[in-house]
């Protein structure tokens, strides 16, 4: 099936053609991953972009909230990046990446269940009946709760880079996280806070 034919087809036909092309696509993905292991960043980027719909579909089977699905996909990408040397090109690529995505989605689901279990209705009670600055205190309470609910790595990254305003190198040394992981964790922490506190994404 050519690309031109794909672009001309409707969604249903496109799905059929994708199913037909699956073995070829899997072989291509395996090749791209092999190239990525050799350090080819273009092959890696192409591969990851092509895999995103599959990753989202897998994560959606475990998680309902679109934001949680997206976080699980990002977790999957980070995990995949760190264990990319474990892929054996002699084996199909799809089960490898699918297993990682399923594991990350399941972890996120468990984390959600734990967080919900910890949430107490009385959390905001301390703010009741306070005159004047009640709204401000509620906001700061929300912020504290949101920061508290961040994953540990994101909380540490936020603390070091934004609150203590350390350089990335210093923060990396203190947290034992790589600079790349630190950047991603900070970025995701800020995003998550914005989302929870109703700011613009």
């Amino acid at each position: 099936m050519s690309l031109a034919a794909l672009s001309l087809s409707g969604p249903a036909l496109r799905r059929v053609s994708e199913a037909e092309d699956r073995p070829a696509r899997d072989a291509r993905w395996a090749g791209l991953m092999q190239a990525a292991q050799a350090g080819n960043s273009r092959a890696y980027e192409t591969l990851l972009r092509e895999c995103l719909p599959l990753l989202r579909a897998i994560c959606r089977q475990r998680l309902r909230e679109p934001a949680e699905v997206e976080d699980a996909v990002q977790d999957t990408l980070l995990t995949l990046h760190r264990v990319r040397h474990t892929y054996d090109p002699a084996r199909p690529f799809r089960p490898w990446i699918a297993a990682i995505a399923d594991r990350r989605a399941l972890d996120r689901l468990r984390g959600l269940a734990r967080r919900r279990g910890r949430e107490a209705d009385l959390d905001a009670a301390e703010n009741l009946g306070v005159a004047g600055d009640a709204e401000k205190r509620l906001l700061s309470s929300d912020l504290r709760a949101a920061v508290k609910n961040l994953p540990e790595s994101q909380r540490a990254a936020l603390q070091l880079t934004k609150i203590e305003a350390l350089s990335l190198a210093e923060a990396s040394e203190r947290s034992r996280m790589s600079i790349g992981a630190l950047k991603v964790a900070t970025h995701r922490a800020v995003q998550s806070l914005r989302r929870k506190l109703g700011g613009d994404p």
Binding site: A36, Q37, A38, G39, N40, S41, R42, Y44, E45, L48, R49, L52, R56, P66, E70, V73, Q74, L77, L78, T79, H81, R82, V83, R84, H85, T86, Y87, D88, R91, P95, W96, A98, A99, I100, R103, S172, R176, M177, S178, I179, G180, A181, K183, V184, H187, R188, Q191, P201
Partner: protein
Amino acid sequence: MTEPSAPQRFGPTEDLVSRLACGLRPVRRLPSPLLLLGFWTGCCLGVILLALWMLGMRHDLLRDAMGRVDLLHILSAGSVALLSGFAAFQLALPDRDRRWALLPLPAVAAWLATMGLGCVSDVARMGWAGLRPGVSLPCLFFILGLGLPLALGILWLTRHAALLRPAPVAALGGLSAAAFASIGLTLVHELQATAMVLVWHGIAVAAVTAMGALLGPRLMRRAGHADSSRSG
């Protein structure tokens, strides 16, 4: 109001993909589980030989042929060590079936049966007095002393499992390390009261396995962080 799918199509996940791909470094592919098992077995045998060189082989082993229980014990412990090591290396990979964890179970059953056989032969030889409970601290300390450093070795070899299924991998790794240590002990230490000593082997092996399962995931994550700091 914006379309909900818009931020997903050009959102932070796509940014993350670009960031991960930017400046990608080549990686050395992980050897196959079989090769890793060969390396691991070689290391363990080297450590056992070193222990033999330092502590000396059992006198009765040099003088006589090995007893039936000793031989069975070494064979079954060897099977446990190899099969649990292989299962750990398989399970450490993302796409492997979780049923690999069951691989060492028949060998573990055989090992327990050997201990049972030791008890039966003791009863036949010494009567019920042969089953008198006792404490064999040297056995415990030897297996802990040899098994724990070896367990650190296999945790290092399977550290990529930290993000996938660390607990079963660490437990299987600990079991493999402890089984190798138990073989080492059998070659060094005379089994005067077979049943009792074999039971202490079992307790020590269970302790190393449990420590692997409890502490292993944390150690693996630390090793993984050290790796990612180096590779970026």
